[in-house]
Each structure stands twice: as structure tokens, then as C-alpha cells.
Symmetry: C2
DNA sequence: ATACTAAATGAAAACGTTTGCATAACTATT
DNA sequence: AATAGTTATGCAAACGTTTTCATTTAGTAT
């Protein structure tokens, strides 16, 4: 078996009887080379098994053909729709994605960004707006095309595509109060270094306060972004305190865990307790009961974010940030109902 | 704001009063440069805002610092644990991951592999063993360090880390028959170009046949890997035919959807019907009812796969494939019980 | 036929590193 | 004190492309 790790553009050129320059052109400016020579080059390429070297291309200071993505975790459903949509769209335009996870740690994020820049990514996509000063500074200094996905923010320093999490929180709180609930618990993850969760929570609390509803401390639950932790937290709540008639959860995963908790304690959702999520993950519609939640349109966000990033990469680097607001919408489903009197 | 996109190793060298070679060495062989000079270089680096150029490094034919991962989809929970574990482990060793999705299309996979090789990834990780001849051939010709994750296969052409899916299928079938079930339905996705699903299904069917149980065609359900499709399929089954006492699903996502279907039709799982999954996804333990399934240890697989790949990258390229078999194990939980007579 | 333009290709410099070899400055050995 | 060995650094070639500029060839207008 012949092992050819090192056939280069010169070998191809020789085989095709042209100069390396022409081979290069046939890749990058095919219109500038005669159809017939192009054919000969193609043939030489497949005969030699040549695979072009993007590193050597990138070194020219031109295109590396990669974009970087920094995401808190790949471990759960939260970002998967978003990433998939973003990835597919970038791929369509010939980009390959360098993916890294920061585990919700902003210092780590900075290191990862540096590492991505070492690889000369042409652009970077981040989640949310909580990033360290160092990160923002580096992006600015190197003038990196960048887009923040997931939540919209007026006056954001960088381009962004997403829904308003505060609005999402307020909307779901509105839904719950309109169903007559007043004994309401909320369940959110740690909101430090996580503006998505923070904004949602603020939206919920502020709306409820406005309606004269105050959440007592023991109904203010802190949980991880996992079904199991959410379930445990909810069980503790249901077992130890008189229970609320509704729980507003920070996202669908948490809501799911809490529904399981209720069911495992013999409660019927929504007859005994209403539970809501935020985010509308793909399985939320088909679960039982289906989850009342707020649609954040991850596919749309991912796709549009890709477009924004492409535009920044190809276009004017000094332009003001592009901000696209994706509408949010309450999807009332089976996990909530009018309160019984 | 000063925009410095182009400070290079020479600028750093000048600033630090050394030669470029020394700067380079301080990155790659720090032991070969005097502590005091190293300090001066570090200072020059932070003063200039230098970020090294991996493309220029990769062009030396040496390390690119990247590995490629080709995965069918990022869109659901199936691979997320695995990917996360793999990713974290590679990162620890200084690698950044280039991730691409092939949407379960093997031709696409070949194109993606080429694209990864253009970026001169040092190694590649794939899912399963169903790959096109072209793919296998290219890997062989270019002598690419490669590992297949997710399922073990004796005599595989390439290194692999995973459980035996056939065994997993047989084990769960054994569990169900030992609970006394004979009226059993199975629910699997399209097994073409998907050896994981195929092996599992074969394991199930063969075991049942051995026990004299034949699955009638209308209990042989074909579904997508999604909660919603699984739920719809199960509803069709439950509404239109006399229903089985147990359903063996191809994975936990499908099982989950089918449980929802049963619940939405007023059936109790497991009292009225037992339902099993395969894979033990992170939420399967905490759902209600928790799902009886087969553990495939995705974290262990991801981590070990990373080790195998690293070893191939750093070690002997001509060595025979490394094959690591990760044990599978039935986790009996709430979604199954002894049949009532 | 001649001069002029356009299109296709080639030659060579450039991109930012790494590394083998050479050199210089020390240290240890006799 | 002379020699051999060691260590830290610099010099310059090399890595595989892309691109500018120059050249050749073919085509067009006179």
C-alpha cells in the first residue's frame, strides 16, 4: 500500500504540465484558467491523491476557512439546536467550525479565544453577552469578526442575534398570572456569569412584583441545568414546604425535571400544579404533558447568526454591530392550566 | 484604539532583543532557552499583543494542534455526552477540535474528511463503523491516526472504543423475556448506513427468536431518532393494534417518546406496558418513570477514545488497530416490571 | 501584414514559522 | 593552562501556498 502523505502543489503541477501558480489559480480563481487546463489539473489531482494544504493558504494572511465557536457546554440539549443550525449554515459557505467548550468559565473562555485566534479563525461566535473584559478587549484589538448568539441586547458591544430573555421571563410570568396563579415558585440556575438566566429571572421577578406577587425565599430555588438536579430540587420543595400552584423554571430542561418530580410524588401536572419552561427545546412539544414554554427559535438564531458573521467576515470590518432581535412567543401547552378554586 | 492584526514573531524578537529562532524555541522547547531570556520574551509578547500563528507552524509539516471529529448530528442528546468527554480530554492535551456533521450521509462524510485533512488535522474521530470505501481508503493512504467511537467491533479496520451493540440488544431482550413478556414490539430507526442501530436490532431479534418469540410485522416499528416521531409511532401502534406488553426501543430517546405516548393514552408505565431504551442518556435515570436501559458509558468511551487517538498521533503509525471494548450493562429501573397474569 | 488588446500562464517573492548547523561563551577535566 | 564538553543563541534554509508582475499567445482592428 503506497503511503503518500506529502504530495504537494508542485507535484500536481508537474503531472499536469503546468506551473504551481496555475494549479493554485484553478482552486481560487477557476475563471482565470482555461477549461482544458483545469481538466488536466483535476486529473493530476486525483491521480496523485493531492489534498491542498489550508495551513499554507492561511499563512498568506488570507482565508483560513475556519470559524471558531465557544459554547458553555455540549453536554445537554440547551445549545444543540442552535449549534447544529449555525454549523450547517457556515458549512454551506465553505467554513469548518472549531468548537470549544468553556464550562461556563469566563477566564477559560479567554484562553480558548486566544487558542482560536492562533488558528487564525476568520470569525468567532459566542453565547450571550457575559464575557470578561480581556475577551472583549482582545476581540476589539484584533478586530475579529464576532457574533453573540442567544440573546438580544440593545447597545451590545458586539453583533448579536437572539431573543430578549427578560421579555421571555416577563411573558411566561404573565401567562401564569393570567391563569390565576399567585402561589408561585421560581427555579433558576446560578445567574452569575450567565446573562441569559439572569435576564430571564429578572423578567419573571419584576413582572410578578408588579402584580404584587413576592416570591418567598423557600420558593426561590437554585438548581443546575440538568434534569436530575432539577428533579431533586423540586422533590425537596414538594416534600418540605406547602407547595405552590405553579413553578416557573429557567428553561425546559429544569421544567422537565420538575414535572418528573411532581409525577413521582403522585401529583398531576397541570391539575395539581402548573409548571413552565423557557426555550422550547425540541422534545418539549412531544413530552407528556407537553411543556408550556417560551419559544426562542434556536434554529432561526443559529442561521441568522451565521449570516451576520459571514457578512462581517466578508464586509466592512469597522461597521457598527448588527443586532437582530428574534421574537419570543409563549407556547401554551399541557403543563399549565387555570387554577382551581 | 490601536488595531494590531499583524505583529509577528520578528516584532517580538526585536522587542525582546533576541532572534526569532529563540522566540520560537521558547514556545516549542522552553527548556532550551534561558529562564531570563524567556522572561524577556514573555514580556515582549504581552506588550506587543502577539498571538502565534499556528498556520505557519503547521506548514512545517509538524503539529497543527487540531483533531477532526465527524459526527452524524449535534442536534440531539445521543452524542452530546460522548463529544463533551472527548472534547475535554483532547483539550487537556492542547488540541482544538474541528467538528463537522454529516447528517448520517456517508458520501458527505467523505467530503468532510477531505476538508478536515485540508486543515491538516493530526487525527480524526468518527462514529461507528459504517463508512464508505472511499473514506476508509483515504484514511489508509494518508495514514491518518483515527479512532472510531461508540461501538466495539472485532476485526475492525481502524481503532475503536465502544460497547458491543449486539450484546446490548441481546441483554435488554433477555431482561424483558425474564420478566415474562412474550408480546413484544420493537422500535428502531432506519438501520441502513447505521451499524449501531443495526447491531442492536439484530441482537434483540436474534435473542427473541432463540426464545421462540417472533415479532409480527405490525409490531416492528420504524421511527426517527426523535422524541416526537417516536411518540407518534407509538400512538399509532397503541391506537390501531392490540397492544404488546413490552416495547424494546432502539435508544433512550425513542423509549422516552413511547413512554409519553403511553401516558397520553392513559396507560401506566410499567403497570400496563413495559418500555426499554438503550444508551442510558443522562436524563434517563431521573425521568418519570426512570427508563430501564443499557448503559453504554459514553463518558468512558469519549475519554478512552481520546487516549487511543493521542497514542496513535504520538506513537507508532503502523501499529495494528487498538480496540477497546467497554462493557455494557442493563440498568433495570422503573419503566419495566414483571408481567401481570 | 502591423500594431494593439485581452487572456492564459509562468517566475519569483512573500507569508510566519521551525530547525539543523554554526558559533560563542562557559564549565569541567586533566 | 589547554582541551573537551555543554549550553544558549543566531543564521539561514525550508515548509506549501498565493499573488504581483512579466511574458507569451491568440485575437481583433486597422
Amino acid at each position: 500500500m503506497k503511503k503518500n502523505t506529502n504530495v504537494d502543489i508542485i507535484d500536481v503541477a508537474i503531472k499536469a504540465g503546468v506551473s504551481p501558480a496555475t494549479v493554485s489559480r484553478s482552486f481560487n480563481h477557476p475563471d482565470k484558467v482555461l477549461m482544458s487546463t483545469r481538466k488536466r489539473i483535476e486529473k493530476a489531482i486525483s491521480q496523485t491523491g493531492y489534498i491542498r494544504n489550508r495551513a499554507a493558504q492561511a499563512i498568506q494572511g488570507k482565508r483560513s476557512g475556519t470559524v471558531g465557536l465557544i459554547v458553555p457546554t455540549l453536554d445537554n440539549a440547551i445549545f444543540s439546536n442552535l449549534i447544529q443550525a449555525f454549523s450547517v449554515e457556515m458549512r454551506k459557505h465553505g467554513f469548518t467550525m472549531l468548537v470549544t467548550t468553556n464550562g461556563y468559565d469566563l477566564n477559560d473562555e479567554y484562553t480558548l479565544l486566544r487558542s482560536l485566534l492562533e488558528h487564525r479563525v476568520e470569525g468567532v461566535a459566542l453565547i450571550g453577552h457575559d464575557h470578561s473584559d480581556e475577551t472583549y478587549n482582545l476581540l476589539d484589538i484584533r478586530n475579529v469578526p464576532v457574533v453573540s448568539m442567544w440573546n438580544y441586547k440593545e447597545n451590545s458591544k458586539i453583533s448579536c442575534v437572539g431573543g430578549e430573555n427578560k421579555e421571555a421571563g416577563a411573558e411566561i410570568a404573565k401567562h401564569i398570572t393570567e391563569l390565576g396563579h399567585t402561589k408561585i415558585a421560581v427555579a433558576f440556575p446560578n445567574v452569575k456569569e450567565n446573562d441569559r438566566a439572569r435576564d430571564r429571572k429578572i423578567g419573571v421577578i419584576e413582572y410578578l412584583n408588579k402584580k404584587g406577587i413576592i416570591i418567598p425565599e423557600y420558593w426561590n430555588i437554585k438548581t443546575e441545568y440538568s434534569v436530575s438536579d432539577a428533579r431533586n430540587c423540586a422533590i425537596k420543595l414538594l416534600d418540605n414546604y406547602n407547595h405552590p400552584t405553579a413553578i416557573i423554571a429557567g428553561n425546559d430542561v429544569i421544567a422537565r425535571g420538575m414535572i418528573y418530580a411532581a409525577q413521582s410524588r403522585g401529583l398531576n401536572v397541570p391539575n395539581d400544579i402548573s409548571i413552565t419552561g423557557i426555550g422550547d427545546f425540541s422534545s418539549s412539544e412531544s413530552s407528556f404533558p407537553s411543556i408550556t414554554t417560551v419559544r426562542m427559535r434556536p434554529n432561526e438564531v443559529g442561521k441568522k447568526a451565521a449570516s451576520v458573521l459571514l457578512e462581517r467576515i466578508n464586509g466592512d470590518r469597522e461597521a457598527d454591530p448588527t443586532r437582530i432581535r428574534v421574537s419570543v412567543e409563549v407556547k401554551a401547552r399541557e403543563s399549565t392550566k387555570l387554577i382551581n378554586n
